[in-house]
């Protein structure tokens, strides 16, 4: 038991995890473009469902390796952080010296976020014509009221707007404007504008509807990573 604990407490273990992740990421970055058609749906489906449907372990093994490695890395992080907080906190004289542990906890939350997204996330792309209503989920629907597009002198889109009406359970909700990088939040869903097509014959908008239960946890992890990173620098400014 002690040997296992020492293994997970060791900085050398963390180091070899970093080596492992670097190798796996390198492999993945080459494998992905090499099997583009196979991996084409990976971003549209929650990861665990995509993996179970995709099969072909010979091409996806590195993702399983990454998940397994991250699981062990989470254990390593948890043990290291626990040990540091339980036995070393008395010797810590500044908050900056806690920063590696804050980063560790941040990594754990980011991993939790990815786990929730990979298992329970939902993404749906809707191509809606003006005046059309499309069902999103659980009785909720979206109607595209109008579309506006702004082009520059060279004909590139510099801004656009899709006006939407949200209805839920037969009740018609308010009309709201959706613009690129300015999402709407309706219930537990996020609504994102991907593109619009303004045409004399009938305008349309491509809209992404998503529900991502992992995003708040990943964000919390990201904030902790930032705080820990800042402290990490402060702690090492002199050495």
């Amino acid at each position: 038991m002690k040997a296992i604990l020492n293994f997970f407490l060791s900085i050398r273990t963390a180091y070899w995890f970093f080596v492992f992740f670097a190798v796996i990421m390198l492999w993945g970055s080459i494998a992905l473009p090499g099997n583009l058609a196979f991996f084409s749906g990976i971003d549209d489906t929650p990861l665990f469902r995509w993996l179970s449907e995709a099969g072909n372990i010979g091409t996806t093994w590195w993702i399983y390796g990454l998940i397994a490695g991250l699981g062990l890395f989470a254990l390593n992080t948890l043990v290291c952080t626990g040990e540091a907080l339980l036995f070393r906190v008395g010797r810590i004289n500044t908050i900056a010296r806690l920063s590696p542990q804050i980063m560790h906890v941040g990594v754990l939350f980011v991993m939790l976020g990815h786990l929730l997204t990979a298992s329970m996330g939902m993404k749906l792309d809707l191509d809606i014509r003006q005046g059309e209503t499309k069902l999103v989920a659980e009785g909720a629907a979206i109607t595209l009221v109008s579309v506006r597009e702004e082009l520059d002198a060279n004909g590139y889109a510099v801004d656009w707007e899709a006006v939407l009406r949200w209805s839920n359970g037969g009740k018609t909700g308010e009309v709201r404007s959706l613009r690129p990088a300015h999402p709407l939040h309706m219930g537990s869903y996020g609504i994102f504008s991907k593109s619009v097509n303004v045409d004399n014959k009938g305008s349309s908008a491509l809209i992404r509807v998503s529900r991502d239960p992992g995003a708040p946890w990943a964000l919390l992890g990201g904030v902790l990573l930032c705080l820990g990173g800042a402290g990490f620098v402060l702690a090492r400014m002199n050495g």
Partner: protein, 254 residues
């Protein structure tokens, strides 16, 4: 002669000169004598003005396409080097840093200027992501040069400088990745993509994490760690220049 130029051609010409002239002054920073820092500083000021000019032409903060990004990468590397150059006069450190800055500035000219900003990029999160990302490249770049100086001269101060700058760079890079994830979620409803670019960016984060841990391991500290730190910068450069060219990264259909 110049009266025949279209407005677009004139802007391109101004952009070329506004990079080449600072690069020349950066190069003169390698000269011996008390004026070398002044000449480098002049290059820095002119480079800063060229970035402001690009912002004026673009009508926004010029961090949205490769020419401006590489130019800004050179600028941050120059700023980090300038801040530390008074205290460290190692010839290896000086020559490698100034060469890196000049080469990066000139490399920006390999990419055409694009004068349109995608509406997806018009958010403070995107700007913050890009600003911090290239600031971290500045730290990583000068860190690598300090590493080369350490490997060549064996001075432990350089090794410490390499580590400190990599630590700053890693912290800034971490915040840049978080800001980038927030931007991507706001723009596209997801904070992670399975593409070679994302994987290489994450690889870079893990690699510098590896280097920062390696320095504390008996038998792997010192020269082996310095080489890993140097390799980290090459990986960071490859993540930017190599992914999409050497490793294919087809545009993602969002």
């Amino acid at each position: 002669m110049f009266s025949d130029l279209s407005a677009e051609e004139a802007r391109t010409l101004i952009t070329i000169f506004s990079i080449l002239v600072p690069a020349l002054f950066y190069g003169m920073g390698m000269m011996e004598g008390k004026h070398s820092r002044t000449l480098f500083l002049l290059g820095l000021v002119l480079h800063g003005l060229s970035i402001i000019y690009r912002g004026y032409v673009l009508g926004g903060i010029p961090l949205t396409e490769k020419h401006d990004n590489v130019s800004f990468m050179a600028f941050t590397t120059a700023v980090v080097y300038w801040r530390l150059s008074a205290a460290d006069t190692s010839p290896w450190y000086q020559v490698t840093s100034i060469t890196a800055v000049s080469l990066l500035a000139i490399a920006s000219l390999l990419f055409p200027t694009i004068n349109t900003i995608s509406p997806f990029m018009r958010t403070p999160w995107f700007t913050l992501h890009m600003f911090l990302l290239y600031l971290s490249y500045g730290f990583f770049g000068v860190s690598a040069c300090a590493g080369i100086a350490y490997l060549a001269e064996g001075n432990a101060d350089r090794e410490r400088l390499q580590y400190q700058l990599a630590a700053y760079g890693w912290a800034v890079y971490t915040i840049a990745l978080v800001a980038g994830s927030v931007w991507f979620f706001i723009a596209y409803g997801m904070y992670w993509l399975w593409t070679s670019r994302e994987l290489f960016t994450t690889l870079c984060w893990f690699f510098f994490g590896l280097y920062l841990h390696q320095r504390y391991l008996k038998g792997l500290a010192g020269r082996p760690a310095a080489i890993i730190g140097l390799l980290g910068y090459l990986i960071a450069l490859f993540a930017y220049f190599g992914v999409g060219t050497i490793i294919p990264a087809p545009p993602v259909q969002f």
